[in-house]
Amino acid sequence: MSLSSPSGRGVRLTSNAVLLLIALTFIAPLVWLVLASLNSTASLSAELPGTPTLDNFAQVLTPALSFVPLWNSFLISAGSALITVVVAILAAYPLSRFKTRFNKPFLYGVLFATGLPITAMMVPVYSLFVRIGLVDSLLGTIFFMATSSLPIAIWMTKNFVDGVPTSLEEAAWMDGASSMRTLRSVVVPLMRPGIAVVFIYVFIHSWGNFFVPFVLLLSPEKQPASVSIYTFFGENGAIAYGQLAAYSLVYSIPVLVLYVIISRGVGGSSALAGAVKG
């Protein structure tokens, strides 16, 4: 995809310069997090700590504060992302490939549901969970989180499926393969980047969600990191900025790592682009 025309080099240089400038802008707000986490007397300013220290990390890296909540966060986020992705692919395929009168209203309904303020409906959700005995169940919470991301996931996935040209499926169809088989063996491999986007999207949303697990889980040992981070916001206004920053990093790094792993896995060689060139 290299531009070989004479103006190409100039374009690339300008592009790189603008890109790096934007990158700096995006990194700037994170500088405070890093500096404050290394500072035992951190305030709101981004200042170099007199003597950098790992004390803040030592204080937050305990089983009760970090490891158990992070593991819970992982269970909840991975569980709901997995369920969402599988259910969304199953739903998106027929929606993309077969025209029925049902499609349009369903898709608009789904689209509309992406804007639902989930917080506002947590009260009836809680009563529902009590009735079906799912309160304080990680699995119940996972299913709810999965469902609340499902509308946007179906919408996104359907768009990705639309992007997979049907010509490739035809061979499989001709061989008499069922649509499910075609989906598995032809479509899914071609839309891996799309699936990765949906997975990460749902994972991140679940990872950061405070209110849903806070309401639906009762036992403290089941609470995820999004809830335990409130330990660092003081009751009477005392905020330990250094520890808060350290915990924020501990809490954020797993999702960053996950993102890097997944995007490495699918990003480099774009299956989608390759398929188009066919």
């Binding site: 305030s43 029925t100 992406t114 639902l116």
Partner: protein, 309 residues
């Protein structure tokens, strides 16, 4: 993500199968079942119940918690009469427009386009920086943004390097601060969507235009953009709907203030439902919030006509 819905519509097999039993259609819809079941149980029920709640005086505490009574449209009437409501609607629209429609979409598109013409390494660096802001848990990015814009924060530290004595942004320009923070936090999504979309634009088309002597900008606006119109409209809708319910970011940064200068509808709904325990009234605000989303969606659908089926 592309607008190639035509591939589905023109499905040759589809054409051949016209007239096949209706049962066939039904069978094909079976994979939709898990989604439908989950949504029916966990979303539709609570939504109906919430909507009904907006017509009652239900409350989290006090005597109304025990026996909520039906109050008809009282909550809505009171809402429309309340002095804070029009302001909250306007601020919500400003927030959506500034941070989602303009900010995230334009910056996301710019990044996606530049990353195609820029170097691979630079692209990777920028991608990581932008995605890092998006990947951060909401409470963390909210607090980072709070620290960044606070009076002694990083932003003013940077400004002082060039001799500018910056104000307390959160106080002086609360809406600008939360809008910029939301652009920072949300652009990655648009960038990813547009990168994928641009990848699907066959290079032959732009190359042909280049032969005809069209300039880069002209090629981009006249050829590339129309080709990814579907992605644009989808992305506009999704970012709008996500931005609509942004709560934590604003709550942590400004708390809706100073005064009500950054109180958008989600903050108003939270305050009424949870701080004042007026559940019914709070749900009425949430319903209005959905209506605002519907209006935006309607405009996109009308203007950009994404082929949804």
């Amino acid at each position: 993500m592309t607008s190639s819905a035509t591939t589905a519509a023109d499905h040759p097999l589809r054409a051949r199968r016209i007239g096949v039993l209706r049962a066939r259609t039904l069978a094909r819809s079976v994979p939709l079942l898990p989604a439908i079941v989950l949504i029916a149980i966990f979303l539709v029920g609570p939504i109906i119940s919430s909507f009904y709640g907006s017509f009652t005086n239900s409350s989290l505490t006090g005597s109304a918690a025990q026996n909520p009574s039906f109050v008809g449209f009282d909550n809505y009437v009171n809402l429309f009469k309340s002095p804070g409501f029009p302001g909250a609607v306007i601020l919500t629209v400003i927030f959506i427009f500034g941070s989602a429609v303009i900010g995230q979409n334009v910056v996301g598109m710019l990044l996606a386009a530049l990353m195609r013409s820029g170097g691979r390494v630079v692209g990777a660096i920028v991608g990581t920086a932008v995605v890092a802001a998006w990947v951060l848990p909401e409470i963390v990015s909210a607090f980072a943004a709070y620290a960044f814009f606070s009076e002694e924060g990083t932003f003013n530290n940077l400004l002082s390097l060039v001799g500018i004595d910056g104000p307390n942004w959160l106080f002086t320009f609360p809406m600008l601060s939360v809008i910029l923070a939301n652009i920072w936090r949300g652009t990655a999504f648009s960038m990813l969507v547009y990168s994928a979309a641009l990848q699907d634009v066959p290079p032959e088309i732009t190359e042909a235009a280049e032969m005809d002597g069209a300039s880069g900008a002209k090629r981009f606006f006249l050829i590339t953009l129309p080709m990814i119109r579907g992605s644009i409209s989808t992305n506009l809708m999704l970012t709008t709907l996500q931005t609509l319910s942004v709560f934590t970011l604003i709550f942590v940064m400004t708390g809706g203030g100073p005064g009500t200068a950054s109180t958008t509808l989600p903050l108003l709904a939270y305050q009424e439902a949870f701080k004042f325990s007026q559940l019914g009234y709070g749900t009425a605000i949430a319903t209005i919030l959905l209506l605002v989303g519907a209006v935006f969606s309607f405009i996109y659908i009308r203007a950009l006509k994404p082929e949804v089926d």
